[in-house]
Each structure stands twice: as structure tokens, then as C-alpha cells.
């Protein structure tokens, strides 16, 4: 079973993220880039499925040149090869355009399953798997906290607010996985060394058959009109518990009409 994992490079989870005042896109240059945390679970799930069912795992990343660091990490975890969709024309693409670009790039790869993380820590939209499933005309098997393949049937446990839905589809399909579906492995030293010689194909938009007027900031389907930094919250009342802490909170809650 051949699996493509869509992996995104995002600003370090622990870094303060900002928009670039010049073009109102995410400032990726001033912060360290890391693999989107939830994508590590997606890579791990793909590797486990490969170990159980055979086949190859391909990493697909759209992003600037420095996203190669993230691709190398995925390869060092054990993925077999990678496709890096990288072109200045893609800068500033919105989610809708990005799904088009990724769908075109997926057209250059043979696969039975596409896996994404449920959301990225920068945009936090959590819609890419739905966008891709719609574009590709494939079953949307999103928000999975468990993934099983039984012959040609795919079964996932989809996270809901109060439990999970068991959902089945045929292959190929698009799966998104939630955090904690598994425990992502750390790259081994051997894995890191091996990653350096694994096949990495770089695609321009022309290589992927992407029409230039359907991607990029100038053609985005939505735009940022303006943005501002949220002012810090005004300082609250902080007291030390002298045995009356609970009473003081209760008084505050009563004043605020929560009781």
C-alpha cells in the first residue's frame, strides 16, 4: 500500500508567531521552522501502516526552500521518498489554493492513501483534508484517532465531541489524524544518515501542472485587510492564599454574576 503524507513546515510551536507587515502573510523567515507537530503523528501512522501492509511512504510538502529541513526529518523517521512543491509563485496562497496545488502535485505520485495531520499549529484551519477529499473526489476520513486497513476497506475512528464515530470507506481515501493517535518515533542515527540519500524530487508549479493564476497571494480567494497585535489584558487582582483564597474567588465570581 503506497501512502502519501502531506507534511507542513510551521513556525516553532513555542515561538511567538507574527504576520509580516509588508504583505500580511505569516512571517516564516524570522522564526525556526519545524514539522507541524500533528504531522509527526501522520508520518508515524503511515510508517505503521507500511510496516503492516508493505508499500512505500512518500512525503509531500509545499513550502519555501527551507522546508527541506522538515522533509529530511520525515525521511529520517523512515519515509522512503519525498516530493517538495516549491515555487515563489505559491507564496501567499490561501488554503483553497493550497489544496489545488497539493492535488496537482498528488497527481504526479501513485498512492492508495493520503494522510494529513488534522490541523497546522500556524493557521489552525483544520480543513485541508476536507479540501483535498473534495478536489480528488475521494472519501474524506478525517479526524481519525485510529486507522485500520482490512483488505480494500479502510476503517477509522473519527473523534467527536463525546466519543467517536466508526467510519468505513474504500481505498484510495484521504485520512487526517489527530494528535495522540500514536507515539511518533524519534529519528535514529541510522535513519538520519539514510535520509540524506533518499530520493527527493523538487517540483515547480509548471512541473505539477499548476496554473499560475490559480495560486499565490495576488489570486488568493481571501485576503487580510488589516491586522493588529492584541493589547495585553489589563492587570487583574492577584492575592496570596491565607486560608481565605476560596472565599475571595467566590466573592469575585459573585460580583461578576457567575454565581
Amino acid at each position: 500500500m503506497n501512502i502519501v503524507v502531506c507534511v507542513k513546515q510551521v513556525p516553532d510551536t513555542w515561538a511567538e508567531k507574527k504576520l509580516d507587515p509588508a504583505d500580511k502573510t505569516l512571517d516564516r523567515a524570522s522564526v525556526d521552522g519545524v514539522m507541524n507537530e500533528i504531522d509527526e503523528y501522520a508520518v508515524e501512522e503511515a510508517l505503521r501502516l507500511k510496516e503492516a501492509h508493505g508499500g512505500e511512504v512518500t512525503i509531500l510538502t509545499m513550502g519555501p526552500a527551507k522546508a527541506v529541513e522538515t522533509i529530511r526529518k520525515a525521511l529520517s523517521m523512515g519515509a522512503d521518498k519525498a516530493v517538495h512543491l516549491s515555487d515563489d509563485a505559491l507564496h501567499g496562497s490561501c488554503a483553497v489554493q493550497t489544496s489545488y496545488a497539493l492535488a496537482q502535485a498528488l497527481g504526479t505520485i501513485e498512492y492508495d492513501l493520503v494522510i494529513t495531520g488534522s490541523e497546522a499549529t500556524d493557521s489552525r484551519n483544520a480543513i485541508m483534508s476536507a479540501l483535498l477529499a473534495e478536489r480528488l473526489g475521494l472519501p474524506q476520513m478525517s479526524l481519525a484517532r485510529k486507522v485500520e486497513v482490512d483488505g480494500s476497506t479502510l476503517r477509522v475512528h473519527r473523534q467527536t465531541d463525546n466519543g467517536y464515530d466508526v467510519v468505513e470507506s474504500a481505498l484510495p481515501a484521504v485520512v487526517s489524524v489527530v494528535e495522540k493517535i500514536n507515539e511518533p518515533r524519534y529519528p535514529s542515527f541510522k535513519g538520519i544518515m539514510a535520509a540524506k540519500s533518499k530520493p527527493l524530487t523538487t517540483l515547480t508549479i509548471a512541473d505539477a501542472g499548476i496554473e499560475a493564476d490559480r495560486v499565490g497571494l495576488a489570486n488568493a480567494t481571501s485576503k487580510v485587510e488589516e491586522f493588529s497585535t492584541r493589547p495585553p489584558r489589563s492587570a487583574g487582582t492577584i492575592v496570596k492564599d491565607e486560608g481565605d483564597g476560596a472565599q475571595k474567588i467566590a466573592e469575585f465570581l459573585q460580583q461578576q454574576k457567575f454565581i
Partner: protein, 319 residues
């Protein structure tokens, strides 16, 4: 006035509060129409209620094929209504499943999408809290029909009675629409607590609890306030509480009227999920904990004594 479509967010036919919030917002933007997709017979029971909040029309598609498959059939119905009625905008709840519907409708109708909006003005410019609320962004859709996902708790619902016209929607689903079959729904845990993402009050516990079983004091406080229970990543990583209750950058974003953080230090990972809460109360033994910078009221103290005493005090004051 321009028609604004509101996709009814519901649980087995019962509309969620965010539906009335969206209808209220839609009235500020134009003339609201509700779109209901559900099981047979469900719409009739709630048409009056949708009218109470100003729905002029209710588009209805009912059938087991809509509820027995994941997301795609709802998107097919909504895209059909968009094509037929050419609304000025579509409002959809910013919940996980509804955002997926919005995404698919955006592709189907060649439109832009603005997820996680907390407000929309009369020019259909949406306000979004980016990066967990650190940056406030105003955005607009430039292509097709603006598809805007509104976060729960962002607009106070206000009634404005109307008598809606019910309009059945006929949609023939394709095999692709029915490709993901829901074969079983499993309900786990929790005795009647509200859902985290649309609760008015959230009580969360973190590393300071010291052990999983100590979440019982968080739950007890939550229950006296009718609150949902949240957890920091440290707590879910330790296996003390289920992941679906995690508040933060890789968990849920909440924006309740009241957020109570117990034994949570307030790393950026957590703040990104709760810092737009209206009122924040903190109990932590470390006076240097960054969470105190967000607190409207904070107590430096041992949560193991303060929290049970607070539960008792609230129970007393409510009596």
C-alpha cells in the same frame, strides 16, 4: 435585502446555541435563511425555533443518506442551495465537522473561506483571532460567495420573531458523496457536562494537580458551575485526562465567559487556546507562573486546598 444562509448546527435534530448566534449575526448582515440537513422528521420540530431567531426561510433536506455519511452529503446540499439562491454570504459554525462542510462548499462553489471568525461586519469583513488570539486579523473573501465560519460564543443570541417559509431541497447524492459510511456512533464518558468548545464556563486542570485522580476536584468545581472540563497538554500527555479535552495550540480553542485555570503554568501552547476568554481566574502555587498575566483574579496557593474549599463555598452561596 441580501439573503444570508446559515447552516443549522445541530445534534440529532436539536440546534446548538451557535445556530441562534449565527441567525442573530445574519440579521445584522441581511435576511437570514436557515439550511437544515438531518434525519427525516427533524426539521418540522425546530422550524418555529429557527423563526424565533429571525429565519425567513428554512431550506430542508432530510434523509438517512445525509446523516449516515461523513460531511460530503451536507456539503452537496448546501452547495445546491448556494447555487439556487445566490446568497450574499454563508455562515457556518466553526466546529470541526462544520468547518469541513465549509471547506467542501468553498471548492464546490469556487469561493473563499474564512474559518474561526469571531465577528463579521456589514461589509462581510470577518474578524479572526490568529495565533491563539495574539494577533487580531480582519479578512474578506475575494472570490465567489463568502463562506464564513463563526466561532461559538462570539455573538450573543437575540430573538426576533419571524414566520419562516419551508423550502424542501432536492439533491441527488453521488456515489462520491456517500463514500465515507458511518457504521457506528460511540459515546464515551462524561455525565451531562457541556461540550468544551461552546461551554459558557470552562474549568481546566494542569500539571499542578499532580495525578490523574485529582481531576475529580476539577470536575467537582466544574459541576457546581455547570462548566465543561478542560486540561492542559501536560495533563493529557501524562494520560490524566482524555485528549479531546485538551485546550491549547494542538487541542481546542475556547473562548468562554469564564475560564478557570487550575495548576496550569500558562505556556504559549496553552495560552493559544484560551487567552480570548472573557474572564480568567487562576489558582497556582507559583507566583511567577505566566498564566497570572492573563488573570482577572488569581490566587497564589495550593489548589488541593483552595479548589475543594471553592466548590464548597460556591455550593453554599448558591443554596
Amino acid at each position: 435585502m441580501a439573503e444570508i444562509l446559515v447552516l443549522v448546527e445541530h445534534a440529532d435534530g436539536t440546534p446548538k446555541k451557535v445556530t441562534f448566534e449565527m441567525l442573530t449575526k445574519a440579521r445584522q448582515l441581511g435576511e437570514p435563511s436557515a439550511v437544515f440537513v438531518g434525519a427525516p422528521g427533524q426539521a418540522a420540530a425546530i422550524t418555529d425555533k429557527l423563526g424565533e431567531y429571525g429565519a425567513q426561510k428554512v431550506y430542508v433536506a432530510e434523509g438517512n443518506e445525509f446523516t449516515g455519511h461523513l460531511v460530503a452529503p451536507i456539503a452537496a446540499v448546501l452547495a445546491k442551495v448556494v447555487a439556487d439562491s445566490s446568497p450574499a454570504a454563508v455562515l457556518i459554525a466553526s466546529s470541526p465537522g462544520a468547518k469541513e462542510v465549509a471547506a467542501r462548499v468553498a471548492v464546490k462553489t469556487g469561493s473563499g473561506i474564512l474559518p474561526d471568525a469571531v465577528d463579521v461586519d456589514e461589509n462581510l469583513v470577518a474578524t479572526q483571532n490568529a495565533f491563539g488570539g495574539a494577533t487580531v486579523v480582519r479578512s474578506s473573501v475575494t472570490t465567489g460567495t463568502p463562506i464564513i465560519c463563526l466561532r461559538p460564543n462570539s455573538t450573543p443570541p437575540e430573538a426576533a420573531a419571524a414566520t419562516p417559509t419551508v423550502i424542501p431541497v432536492e439533491v441527488t447524492l453521488t456515489d462520491a458523496d456517500k463514500a465515507a459510511r458511518i457504521v457506528e456512533r460511540v459515546v464515551e464518558e462524561k455525565g451531562g457536562r457541556p461540550e468544551l468548545s461552546d461551554a459558557s464556563i470552562v474549568v481546566s486542570g494542569g500539571r499542578g494537580l499532580g495525578a490523574g485522580e485529582k481531576f475529580s476536584i476539577v470536575e467537582a468545581l466544574a459541576d457546581t458551575l455547570g462548566a465543561a472540563v478542560g486540561a492542559s497538554r501536560a495533563a493529557t500527555d501524562a494520560g490524566w485526562y482524555p485528549h479531546q479535552n485538551q485546550v491549547g495550540q494542538t487541542g481546542k480553542t475556547v473562548s468562554p465567559q469564564l475560564y478557570i485555570a487550575l495548576g496550569i503554568s500558562g505556556a504559549i501552547q496553552h495560552r493559544a487556546g484560551m487567552q480570548t476568554s472573557k474572564t480568567i481566574v487562576v489558582v497556582n502555587k507559583d507566583p511567577e507562573a505566566p498564566i497570572f498575566a492573563l488573570a482577572d483574579f488569581g490566587v497564589v496557593g495550593d489548589l488541593h486546598t483552595v479548589v475543594p474549599a471553592l466548590t464548597e463555598e460556591i455550593t453554599k452561596r448558591k443554596a
